[in-house]
Structures are given as C-alpha cells and as structure tokens.
Symmetry: C2
C-alpha cells in the first residue's frame, strides 16, 4: 500500500478533476502492473495498472489507495467493473471513497462478483495522500497548508520588512517542491504589494508544475494571471483546487487560522535570532491558552541544510 | 573521556570555586577509580579517583576532563603532583586549563616525570562541560544560557500576559533540571513583578540545588534573597557564578542578546499557535539579516512529551 501511495503522489495537483490514486497489481509475489491517475484525471490508476498487466491480471491482487469507482462516466468505465472483468482475485483498499456516487458501492460490487476485499489498510497514510480530495468531498473546500518561514524567535522579517533570506537554499527548494504539489497558492494584498511574489516553481523540469496564484483581497480585483477571492471563506469556490497553500503574510495567515481552515502547518525555521521584527501571525482570536492545546500534531520534521522544516497536522 | 565528562556533571554548579572536573583511572582494561570535584571544590576529581584506586593506580591511565592543576593551594596539593606520586603511567586530558596558574604547566610537570600525556581528547565535549569555568577564565563573566518557552509562532504569552501553560509537564521538569545545573538565574523587573517567579528547583531530591536568584533592575534594589545588578554588563561581578541562566522576559532576553552575551539558547516549543501575543524577544539591535546568520549552531534537540527542546550554541 505504501508503494501505491508513493505512485499516487505522481498525480498530485495534476489529476484534477479526479483524485490522485495509486494502484499496484501483484501475482505470485511479483508486481505485474502499476498505475496512477494521470494528468486531467484519465486514465484512472486501476485502468493503467490493468492495461500494463494484460492477461496476467487474472487471479492477481490489486492494491489501490482509494476504493475503485462504481460510477460509469462519459470518460470511461467504472474501475470496479474493470477489475471484475480482468478476473482480479483480491482487492486491498486504502480508504473508502467519500464521493456519494461510489461510497461503498465499489466495494459492494467487487464482493458481489466474488472478489475478496479488504479496506482500511494503511488508511491514515492513504487518507493523507488523498486529503485534498477528501476535504473537498466532505467540507466543500480545498485542504489548506499554511507555510511560514521564521527565525528561531518566530519572526518572518526585520522591522523594516526585509526577509531575504531567513532560510537557506535547501529550505527554499523544498518550498518549491511543495508548491508543485499544490493546485493553487494564496497570498494577501500586503504581501502582494510588498514582495510581488512570483509564487512559481523554480526547479528544473518542474516549471510547468507552477500552481495557480490566488489573491486574498477585500476589493476582489486581481492582476492578470491571478484569481481573487474576498474572504478565506470563499476558497471552496476555487474550481479544480483540492490543495491550497497559503504563503502569507501574517494577517492572511491569521485569517485562515481564525476560522480554523488550516489543515497543515509547514514551518521552516532558520537558526537565526531576529528580535523585534515582524511576527509570523496576526490576531487569530485566541482567548485562552487551554484552547490552543490539542490542535496540532507533529507529522514530520527534518533538517534542510542549517534549517529545520516541521509539518504539523490539524487534529480533527 | 565521555564517562569522565558524565562524572564531571555531578559537580556542576556545586564545585565552586573550582571547576567541575571528572576523572577515571583505568588499569588492565578495568576501571579502578572514579572521581569528580565535590561540593565546595574539594577534593579534586583526580584526588578522589586516586584515593579510590589506592596502590592499584601504579601504572594506570588517568582520563581527566581538564588538565591537572599545577599549583599547590592551602586547600591541598597539586593534582599533577598527586598523579606523579601515585605512579600513573599515562594521562589523557580533555582540554588544557586556561587558569594562568596551570595553563600547560600541569602537562609539562607530568611529562617531566616521564608520564605519557595526550591532551585535546574529546575536546569539544570536555570544553562544553567546563564552559562556565572557561568563560569565567577567558571573559571574566559566567557562561550565559537564555531560556525561552514559546508557541510554534514564537510567542511567550497571550496579549493579556497569560503564559500558564504553554509547555507541558515534561518540558517544565526539564527546565528544573537545567536550573539545578546553574549557579544563578536572572529575570528582569517586568517578569519579577508580573509573575513573581520562584525560580527554584521543584524536583524531589533536588530542592537544595535551587540556584541563586538575580534581578536585572536599573534601580539596583532587590527583594530579600535576591541579588540585583543594574546592567547585563555586570554579570561578571556575580561571585561564584560560572553558569547563569536568563529566564526572561522579552526585554531582558533581548538586552543580553544585544551585547552578544548569550552563549547558549535553550528553546522549548509547544505545538500550539498563539497569533498576536507577546513575542519572545524585544529589540536586539539587528540591522540586516546577513548579520543574523552563522551565529547559532544546533547542539541538541529532543521531544519532551508533546513539546520539543532545542539547544543552540553561539559560534565564536
């Protein structure tokens, strides 16, 4: 399942309007097919894996990160039907599909055809890989990552606003990989005017993976090539956006935290001390410390050169 | 040498006016004596180890964290002479003694007596264990640790000043162990008035290890049981204080950073987000970001319950 999840990542932020799924077919202990949702959403992971395996799929086990779809669309047959037709003997599923057109129906159809089905395998990791899709299905908005790059004392700039550079080249390259895994990046009007950020992916071979740029602006007007929204409550209206990265500034970041619409904190910290400068966040409406506890769980941390990156997940 | 350094730690913040040294005697692959500088500075580590070993010390190797002293005092003979008299064959030294009464003289005397001497073994770790003494000898002031306990976004309190509790019980217990390893703890007037901190060691068995309390106050007046100094420049005047921990608040911490008198940052970070509250530091006089780089190096980090502690060393 972990290998299928790794495959799924290849389609992340490319597979819209479909979720980025991974599928591996195994027979007699050998991998006979691999697939992931391609750009634009077709083919589905299962279709690609079955296509690779050909007749060898008969009697095989399919490992798939998301429940195979049960609904036929104009763009292709349902994956549950494809697995049945190929004679797959067993299907191991990461997590059930929350899409109401499938939600358990894919599993039911496989079982009715005599296929052994196990669901909920490595489910936390599978759900994490599908968090954009799941958040969109269940909350009608994208999964939101808030990125902050700070000093050890939590400052994002000197008092005069200078912030180039707090973190080093490895941390900045890591941010660009993160950008490539997002459908859109959002900044506030202050950051837009002060930094005129390009918000693109500056890594060789990944330039085409630059996400859409979104401006949070009460006025609602955006420069060419940008989309504007007037409030953090409006992110659900961003079409084809399952993964949204908020890059600042402090007031914009705080506005998302204040309405509890941040699902993941991505913190880069450099081993520097700034003192009185610009704090990472504005007012998030916290009234007592006890309310701040139990909300964030560390999911990953590593050193990037001299800097440290930490990823915290919102506990819901 | 690492074992000798661990022994030395037993005397830390107790051994004044002498440095906390550790000594291990080994013969034929077996430890035959262990010693560390006891409370009040006597006996010295070497004397204690030789006393344990007795006649077995003849032909042994002594591992000692600091160059054995060469100066006889009213309180006892020079350790170099003791090692020679015991017939030790070899002395392995962590670091040379910067005290001008010894500084190389201990090594010279051992070698003149035909003893094989190696110095500078595990020197960085040995010097770290002796940093209070070395800083006092070379800079005429204690080694200063600045402790901060912050949220992920670098805040030490809500806007209304409430800060109990940001970190959890494991992190607070860790702070109490750190206190026990310091000769004195310093806070500023604001923290003193707002929090009336006890600054004692609240760990069973270690209550007696509570350090002296120092108030940074321009007025120079201190409550009963406290020592007052008027400026961070005056810490050299704190007698018998080789290890000083600065516990806040933000302006006091910044005052020490501004004159570059912080040798170690001890950062506790809780997985909470506060937003606009009280920042960890006031103005430290930083004019450009490039000046902030290359000053701090991570020396240790670990999880304490849900919190993370990090220790950074000033690169000098």
């Amino acid at each position: 399942m972990q290998a299928a999840i790794a495959l799924a990542l290849r389609g992340r932020a490319l597979s819209s309007p479909n979720p980025a799924v991974g599928c591996i077919l195994v027979r007699d202990g050998r991998v006979i097919g691999r697939g992931w949702t391609l750009a634009g959403g077709r083919p589905h992971a299962e279709a690609m894996a079955l296509d690779t395996a050909g007749e060898a799929a008969y009697g095989a086990t399919a490992y798939v990160t998301l429940e195979p779809c049960a609904h036929q669309s104009q763009r292709g047959p349902a994956c549950a039907d494809l697995l049945i037709a190929a004679g797959v003997a067993r299907v191991v599923i990461g997590t059930q599909d929350p899409d109401p057109r499938t939600n358990g129906e894919g599993i039911a159809r496989l079982e009715a055809a005599g296929i052994a089905v196990q669901s909920g395998i490595a489910e936390a990791a599978a759900r994490a890989s599908l968090a954009g899709f799941i958040t969109r299905q269940t909350q009608r908005r994208p999964f939101v990552t808030l990125k902050l790059a700070t000093s050890l004392d939590g400052q994002i700039a000197l008092a005069d606003g200078s912030s180039q550079w707090i973190t080093g080249p490895q941390a900045r390259a890591h941010t660009h990989v993160e950008r490539a895994h997002h459908d859109a990046i959002l900044v506030g009007g202050g950051t837009m005017r002060a930094d005129a950020p390009r918000l693109d992916v500056r890594l060789k071979g990944l330039e085409a993976r630059s996400p859409r740029r979104v401006l949070l602006s009460r006025m609602g007007d955006a420069p060419t090539g940008w989309t504007a929204i007037a409030s953090p409550h409006d992110i659900g209206s961003l079409e084809g956006c399952d993964w949204l990265m908020v890059e600042g500034g402090a007031e914009t970041a705080a506005a998302f935290l204040a309405i509890d619409s941040v699902d993941r904190l991505l913190l880069y910290r450099a081993p520097v001390v700034i003192g009185r400068g610009k704090a990472a966040l504005g007012d998030i409406g916290l009234e007592q410390l006890s309310d701040a506890h139990g909300r964030w769980q560390l999911e990953d941390t590593r050193l990037l050169g001299k800097d440290r990156v930490e990823s915290y997940q919102r506990i819901r």
